[in-house]
Assembly symmetry: C2
Amino acid sequence: MIMPRIKLSEVARLARTSTKTASRVINGDPRVSAATRERVQRAVTELHYRPDPLARSLRRGTDDTIAVVVDEVSDPFFTRVIGEIERMALDRDITVIVASTRRLAERERTVLDGLAHRRIAGLIVASVTDDHSYLRSAHYPIVFIDREAIGLEADAVLVDDRAGARMAVEHLLAHGHRRIAFVGDRLDIATVRNRLEGFQAAMSAAGITTPEEYVVHMEPQLTEGRHAVERLLALDEQPTAIFSANTRCSLLTLPTLHRTGRTDVAFVSFGDFAMADALTPGVSVVNHSPELIGRLAADRLLRRLAGEKLAAETITAPLEVLARGSGELAP
Amino acid sequence: MIMPRIKLSEVARLARTSTKTASRVINGDPRVSAATRERVQRAVTELHYRPDPLARSLRRGTDDTIAVVVDEVSDPFFTRVIGEIERMALDRDITVIVASTRRLAERERTVLDGLAHRRIAGLIVASVTDDHSYLRSAHYPIVFIDREAIGLEADAVLVDDRAGARMAVEHLLAHGHRRIAFVGDRLDIATVRNRLEGFQAAMSAAGITTPEEYVVHMEPQLTEGRHAVERLLALDEQPTAIFSANTRCSLLTLPTLHRTGRTDVAFVSFGDFAMADALTPGVSVVNHSPELIGRLAADRLLRRLAGEKLAAETITAPLEVLARGSGELAP
DNA sequence: CACCAGTGGGTAATCGATGTCACGCGCGTT
DNA sequence: AACGCGCGTGACATCGATTACCCACTGGTG
C-alpha cells in the first residue's frame, strides 16, 4: 500500500518515453498518440504510480487543499459545519486542514498568515476580527461563515443574527413574557453583538426597557458562566425567560437551571444541540442547520475552485423556531 | 500580510551572500560568521521572508503536518479528541489535516493511501479495519486511538472497553437489575465488539443469560435506531435497564426513551456527552475523557517527532462511573 | 521539388530550499 | 617553508513534476 515512492521518470522509463510525455498522459493532454498513451497508462497502473502532490504543488503554484478556520474545532456548531465541508471536499479528492483561532484576534492573524505561506487553494473562515482588508491580496478564494467579511468583497454564508434574535424574543413575548434576559459571551464577536442588537430591538419594539443586569456575559470559563446565571436568578426582579445567544452559552446555562431546579424559567437557544428535545422541558431553539451552512460554503468555494466566475455574494441560511416546551412556558 | 512571495535568493542577494549561506542562517547552522549572520537576519526581517513550507518539504522529504483520521469529524467523541490534538499541534507550529472514514473500511484505505503520498510527519488514527500490517512500511510514526493496532507494532491510546462495559453492568446489577439490554451499532468495529464482550462476560459472571433480543444493533440511520429501541421496549419480557455502547448510540436511544416517557428504564452510557447531567434523570455514564485521550496520543506522536526513541506502547486511559441518576434507578 | 503547417515527442529550465563538495584563507606544526 | 587543518563560503546538484521551447517527421501545396 505504501510503495517505495515511484517517480514519474520511472514510469517514463518503463513506457520507453520521456517524462514530459508521461506527464502529458497523466494530465490529459490530447497531443499524445494512442499507442504511447496506452503504454504510459499501463506503466502507471503497473507501478501504482501516483504523482507527488508536493512536487506538483510546488511547480504549479497551487495545492488541492482547503483550509477551514473556526473558533474552536470542538464547538458543537463548528464541528458540524466542518464535518459537512470535509465530506464535500473529500469526495473531490481535496484535503482539508483545520485550525482554530480560540476566538483570539491575534491568533487568527497568526493562523491566517501561516496559511498564506502554504499554497492553499481556498479558505473558509469564521473570523473573529473586524477588518479583513489585508486578505484582499490573497490569491485564493475565501468564503466567510457565520460572520461577514469587512473591508473585503467575498462570499459569505450567514444567518440573520438580528432576525433570529428577534424571532426568539417575539416568541417569548407571545407567550406572555416581559422580563426577558439575554445570555451571551464575548461582545467583541460580531455574531453575539448582532444577536444582542436583535434582542434589544425586539424588546424596544415591544416597549420594554431591559435592565442592565438582564444582559449577561459569560466568559468561556465554565465556573464564571455558572455564577453569572446564578446571579441572574438571584435578582429581586427575576427574569421569567432567558434568551441564549449561542449553543455554547446554552450548554453552560442549562445545566445550572436544571441543577438549581429552575426549569420554570422559559428558555430559547440560538442554535440547536444534541439532546435539546430530550430535556424536560424540551429546549426551544432558533434553528439554523450547521450542515446546511457548511454545504453552502463548501459549494461556493468548490465552484470557484472549479473555475466558475462568480460575483461575491452573501447567502443567508434560513432560520426557524423549533418549539419544544421551554420557550412556551408561561411567566 | 500576504506578501508577494519572497524567495530565499532575494534574501541572499540583499545580504550579499549565497542562498546556501542564507539557508544556513535560517536553519541555525553554527558555521556562519557573526557578521554574515547579522546581514542575513536583517535582510530576512526587512523582506518579511518566510521559507516556503512546500519547497522545504520537498527537499527535506518531510512535512510539519500530522494527519488525524477518525470515523466522523462530527462525532461528539472524536470532535473533542481532535480539538485537543489540534491545540497541542498548533502550539508547536504543526499543521493538522483531518479526514474521516465514515466507518467504511474501504474508505479508510483510500484515505490512508492518499495520505501516504503526502509527506505527513505523523498519523493519529481511529481505525475501523482489523489488519494494519500494510502500514508497517510507513515512514512516519503512527498512534492508534480508540482501537488498537493489529499486525503492527505501534503506540495506541485506548480505553479498556471490556472493563468499562463490565463496570457499567456491575453498576446496574448492584442496583438490582437483571434484565439488562445492550444497545450498540456496527459489530465489525472493535470498540463495540469489545464492549459487547465485556457486557456478556459481566452478565455470565452474574449467572444471567441474556436473551438474544436484548442485544440491539442500530445502524447509524436515525430512524432505524429509534425503531430498534421501540422494539426493545415492546418485548414481553422488557429489560429494566439499558447499557449503551457509545455516545452515538446514547444520542439515538435517549430521545426515544424520553419521547415515549420511558425514563423509568435505567440507563448507562459508555461515553459522556453534553447535557447528560441536565436530563431528568441525569444520565449515568462510564466516563473517559476525549481530551485526555487526544492529549496522550498527541504527546506520544509529538515526542516521536521530536526525535525521542520510544518503544511501542499501549496506553490505557482511565475510566470511571459517573452516577447521575439514570443508572441508579430501581428495576 | 522546396516549403509550410501540424502533430507527436524530447531536452532542459523551473518551482524554492537544502545537501554535497570543494575551495580559499589563516594559523599552527614539524 | 611546506603541510595540514578548520572554518566560512559558495557553485551546483537535487527533491519530483511541470512547462517553455525546440526538433523530427508527415503530407499537402505552389
